[in-house]
């Protein structure tokens, strides 16, 4: 019981001190952070999440970092006449009292040159740096994009090739 209390107190102190350093980061909350499991043979993937700003001032995420890839960049997609063009962006803005969704085919945190293959369920710690220099740590879980599909399947398509 005392041990439990002490752990609680310690973590509370750690939390409060972290908050004291946080700045804009304590106004920013993150919902549903996840990393898309990269298909075999590929070394690039992306992280998605919903950023919510409870504060009265706009917040800009200016940088992202994570230990699993050599490069981490902020990207967006632009639809030009049906062609989706992915480009790096200098910042991702979250309006005061607003929210910004990072999602497939839109804004995302690009993870380039993965050091090793990710595993489903693995936690990727992502650090978002905000425009006031404060940092927001996010634990994103690696999700299989085909989760809704059954893992096993008959060799469909085997009879459909020309030999």
């Amino acid at each position: 019981m005392t041990r439990f209390l002490r752990t609680g107190l310690v973590s509370l102190t750690v939390l409060t001190s972290a908050c004291a350093l946080a700045g804009a980061a304590d106004k920013l909350s993150v919902a549903d952070p996840y990393v898309r499991l990269n298909p075999p043979g590929t070394r690039v993937t992306a992280a998605y999440m919903v950023l919510k700003n409870a504060g009265d001032k706009d917040i800009k995420v200016t940088k992202a970092a994570n230990p699993t890839s050599k490069l981490t960049e902020l990207h967006n997609h632009f639809n030009e006449g049906g062609v989706m063009k992915m480009r790096q962006v200098p910042a991702i803005e979250v309006k005061a009292k607003g929210e910004t969704a990072l999602q497939p085919s839109g804004l995302h945190v690009m993870m380039i040159d993965l050091k090793e293959a990710l595993k489903e369920g693995q936690i990727v710690p992502i650090t978002l740096t905000l425009d006031d220099g404060s940092e927001k740590k996010v634990d994103a879980v690696v999700k299989n994009p085909t989760a809704a599909a059954p893992a096993k399947n008959e060799h469909a398509g085997h009879d459909m090739h020309k030999h």
Binding site: T42, T45, A149, P150, A156, H163
Partner: protein
């Protein structure tokens, strides 16, 4: 307490609003119904380079279509205007103008006009350059009127002084009923298991997706949707559907790599590639643009490409286009709606 007369009034208002909701709902449902479009032939001997041209609508009103400046510029922006004469009738719904090469695939050039009022819509577009000199164009005005789709194909030549090409023929009518400018067509490319031809899948529906395995976000999104769509079908339905992923990055995507990539999303998806020229030809037939971007310091490069994908009917013809990102349930519904050789839709009435 309300007086009896007050209560009666309230009841009347309530009933009236209910009727209004029902009527509005009915009208809305009708307006959402997309029917195969009727094709109208515009009035003859009119050159869009020199003046507005017109066609008479089924309700007797006159539709005029104007492209300015005169003559029609190439590459430069041009103003597009569609007007109905002032007579009473249903207001203009969605109005689009589609530019198609009469005998040449110039990709997908379609402009959605902005409504000015119920009788007038305008927008801006431009014609792509044609390197082969003179060519014939068909500008098809696609409009929704009273929930009905109407196509009016206006032919013109790239040369303002050349005679106006023949008005739409019976063949053009058939073409206009399908999404214009996207003829699609057969091809043979290479999968890990050998050559794959679109014509092998007659009698089945093919979902054709263009992309590449180094694609960081768009292609995994499309293929994950394809995998989920396939998983949602019954085994009997799945026999009639094939997803084919065509690489727009033949330099890096080998058949083996494509197989490893596509089976991650669903084992039934086939990945195909080919020579750069072969790929370019297939992409062109489907109006797919693909542009290799400059490489970064690690030699990685992206290939910007058209994200929409295509449904090929059991007859081998392009049946529908799927916007990005695809919603698995919507695509499954589109596929189920397509006629199969054995399905009742194909039987004679």
């Amino acid at each position: 307490m309300l007086s009896p007369s007050r209560r009666l009034l309230l009841d009347a208002v309530l009933i009236l609003s209910l009727i209004l909701i029902v009527v509005a709902g009915y009208r809305y449902a009708n307006s959402q119904r997309t029917e195969a479009g009727d094709t109208l032939i515009p009035e003859a001997n009119c050159n869009l380079h020199h003046s507005a041209c017109a066609a008479v609508l089924p309700d007797g009103r006159r539709l005029t279509f104007n492209i300015t400046p005169h003559p029609i510029p190439v590459v430069q922006p041009m103003q597009l205007e569609v007007r109905l004469d002032g007579k009473a009738g249903a207001p203009l719904g969605k109005v689009e103008v589609d530019f198609a090469g009469k005998s040449m695939n110039m990709g997908f050039n379609r402009v959605t006009l902005t409504p000015v009022d119920g009788n007038h819509a305008k927008g801006e577009g431009n014609l792509p350059v044609c390197v082969t000199g003179r060519m014939d164009w068909i500008a098809t005005v696609l409009l929704e009127l009273d929930g009905k789709r109407i196509n009016v194909p206006f032919p013109f030549s790239s040369d303002p002084e050349a005679p106006v090409p023949e008005a739409a023929t019976a063949d053009d009518k058939v073409a206009a009923a399908r999404p214009p400018t996207l003829p699609g067509g057969d091809f043979t490319l290479l999968s890990a298991a050998g050559p794959v031809s679109l014509q092998d899948y007659r009698g089945r529906v093919v979902w054709l997706i263009f992309g590449y395995t180094y694609c960081p976000d768009i292609c995994p999104t499309s293929l994950a949707a394809a995998g989920q769509m396939l998983a949602s079908l019954s085994p009997a339905e799945r026999k009639n559907v094939q997803v084919i992923f065509v690489s727009v990055d033949p330099e890096r995507d080998t058949p083996a790599r494509l197989k490893e990539y596509t089976r991650f999303f669903h084992p039934a998806i086939i990945g195909v590639t080919g020579g750069a020229e072969q790929i370019a030809a297939v992409a062109k037939h489907y109006g797919v643009i693909h542009t290799r971007q400059p490489a970064d310091t690690h030699g990685n490069y992206a290939v910007d490409h058209t994200a929409s994908s295509f449904l090929i009917g059991a007859d081998g013809l392009l049946a529908d286009k799927v916007g990005h990102p695809p919603i698995p349930a919507e695509v499954a519904a589109k596929i189920r709606a397509l006629p199969l050789p054995s399905s009742p839709e194909r039987k004679a009435p």
